[in-house]
Amino acid sequence: MQMTRKPSDITTDAKSGEVLHHEGEFIINMGPQHPATHGVLHLKIWLEGETIKKIEPHLGYIHRGIEKMCERLSYRQFIFSTSRMDYLSAHINNQACALAVEKALGLEVPPRAKAIRIILAELTRIASHELWWACSGLDLGGVTPFFYAFREREAINDIMEETCGARLTQNFIVPGGVMSDLHHNFQKRVKRVLTQIKDNLHEYDEILTGNIIFQNRLKEVGYLSREDAISYGCTGPAARGSGLSCDIRKLYPYDGYEKLDFDEIIFNEGDCWARYRVRMAEILQSVHIIEQLIDSIPDGEFQAKTKNVIKLPKGQFYQRVETARGELGVFIVSDGAATPYRCKFRSPNFSNLSAIPQMAQGAKIGDLVAIMATVDLVIPDIDR
């Protein structure tokens, strides 16, 4: 609502004459050090009372210029710099880069490598959603959920450690397959984790999903319409909560997702509660995907033969994958050399962040925390 204001109510900068703020408005800086931003995100918020009038994101506190770095790295190396972008779906980021290189080379990946990639990617997705669940409980003031979710997440991280050698930034994927074969404990432990998750999910519902305070904090908060979700380029669970079908695994299948049976979870309400339920249901879908594969991992090579120095043909290549947060696009411009000429990562969090000012319009500070929790931002992925 446009309010009429007297000129005396407006504070302006003495030098530039720029309007700083209006009378009754209150500007606070949320971040770069703030518990709810999960990193060094800086939101400048114009408040009226506790109601948010406007939000302006200020970024770059963790900008490392990964895109510039990639211009100097070979096609084997640049994959690994992406683990540090969205560190919660490091494996899926690597997969995107490897797929882009394979697409450019026309390389056929052995079926065993494809299955391993998918299992690990879905495990990563579950681990990421577990962390999201833990943190969204924490953001809304409940500390206990944090520890519940970490039981399963730790078990998944242990599997990652055993198989890939790292818990968070896995770096397991190379162009043409995966770096090494699976650990012999892998299948046994994955199955144990899957039963553990299925057994424990009802506890999640008891402590958080079913809680009336929690539901009231999320319902009808942070509404994002389907049109806005498209216009802002939102992807992932944040957009699927608004009824937008955008699961890359379904729309543009890669690595053999087309052969698997799973549902794309879509809720139409567009509020935080819908986004919450999308993620909770996605955990089960990921479990379902792994269950289909875990007993039938094909035998054979885990890596296709590639040259030592990979050179991509001249041209532009775009590959997208579904990370835990949405669509990650890898756009490589090659001039035929051993390093990319230009490498662009279309990050899901960057687009999702741009929709937050729209969602938080007219909400309270507490709602903004709920919105950021359900959009699930990972800041290094925004800054890159």
Partner: protein
């Protein structure tokens, strides 16, 4: 035989009367006697509060750990029981920062105001049979009036920090405490109506034949629940900790405090927790009154042998545990939901409840 009985039914009143007699024989001057007695009472109260806060801090960590399927503090001292001492030492040595833009006088005054107001409210509590610091004839009213002062310290702290988060936290606490005071008052009034007195010792005596929560049927149960909810809000504990709201306001009114000044806020939080639980235990659960069942004389006699102080502290810590349970189970409310809860649900319910209780008192519908 008399001594043996005392050993069993060890009560502070015996200790207090002996001390009094000893002092009377020792000090002739009545003025000096008064001063000495005040000093002893004050020092032992302070010592009690400090030990209490240590214990509550430890208990909170252990309860949290129990809720969160983890161990909790287990390194310093046996079972981690000295962890809180280590924390205190750390806080003592920390620099007490005063922000540059703050109103330094008020900034440094606020923690003391907060602690003093919460300490004042402890005066009329009856810790055991015949053991009460100040049996003031308006006991409950005194406690509610003192607790209404608590908001001022928080407002002072929030405003003088010259931090916007602190200011928002202070404004929230103002709205929150002022509103929830109404429900607390109304739920306490229901017992005042039934017992016919504001004096805490009278209220405890009125429960000799049964605690109010059993005698008062459903209306008293309702006011007990309302009291627990509203007092959790009044002392700013989760799920009503909007004034601190770490994830929203990075600590709210005490964002800028460090070191001992911050410890003061912590101290007052635990004292407040103890006070509201003690009041709830006194008003609804009979204070130091042992648990009796109708005509089971043998059982009642066995209950009488449990010291009255144990009864009081047992009930108090039971309620403290419930409030801690809230904290580690529920997510936080939003500010408008918080005020809606009070003004749209708790206040009308407790108003209707007060009417019911009055009817009960008039027609004598209680045991």
């Amino acid at each position: 035989m008399e001594k043996l009985h005392l050993l069993f039914v060890f009560s502070f009143s015996w200790l207090a009367s002996h001390l009094n007699m000893w002092l009377r024989t020792g000090i002739g001057n009545s003025f000096l006697l008064l001063v000495t007695e005040m000093l002893i009472a004050g020092i032992s109260l302070l010592a009690f509060l400090v030990i209490l806060c240590f214990f509550l801090g430890y208990m909170e960590r252990k309860v949290a750990a129990f809720m969160e399927i983890r161990l909790g503090p287990n390194r310093v001292g046996p079972k981690g029981s000295l962890q809180i001492v280590a924390d205190t030492v750390k806080l003592l040595f920390k620099e007490g920062l005063t922000p540059d833009g703050s109103d330094k006088f008020l900034f440094n005054l606020a923690p003391f105001v907060v602690v003093v107001t919460s300490m004042l409210a402890i005066a009329p509590l009856a810790f055991a049979r015949d053991f009460q610091l100040w049996d003031v004839n308006i006991g409950i009213f005194y406690v509610t009036s003192i607790s209404s002062m608590a908001v001022i310290g928080i407002l002072m702290a929030g405003w003088s920090s010259s931090n916007k988060y602190s200011l928002i936290g202070a404004m929230r606490s103002g709205a929150q405490i002022v509103s929830y005071e109404l429900s607390i008052g109304l739920s306490l009034i229901s017992i005042v109506i039934l017992s016919g007195s504001l004096r805490l010792s009278d209220i405890i005596q009125s429960q000799a034949n049964g605690w109010w929560i059993f005698k008062g049927h459903i209306p008293v149960l309702i006011s007990f629940i309302i009291f627990i909810i509203a007092s959790t809000a009044e002392i700013n504990r989760a799920p009503f900790d909007l004034t601190e709201a770490e994830q929203e306001l990075t600590g709210g009114f005490h964002t800028e405090y460090a070191g001992m000044k911050f410890a003061m806020f912590l101290l007052s939080e635990y004292i407040n927790l103890f006070i509201v639980s003690a009041i709830a235990a006194t008003i609804f659960l009979g204070g130091w009154m042992p648990f009796h069942i109708g005509n089971l004389t043998g059982f009642n006699h066995a209950m009488d042998y449990i010291p009255s102080s144990l009864w009081f502290f047992g009930k108090t810590f039971f309620i403290i545990f419930i409030i801690m349970w809230f904290r580690w189970t529920f997510p936080r409310l939003r500010i408008d939901q918080l005020l809606n809860l009070e003004w749209k649900y708790l206040l009308p319910i407790s108003m209707g409840n007060t009417l019911l209780v009055s009817a009960m008192a008039v027609f004598g519908w209680y045991l």
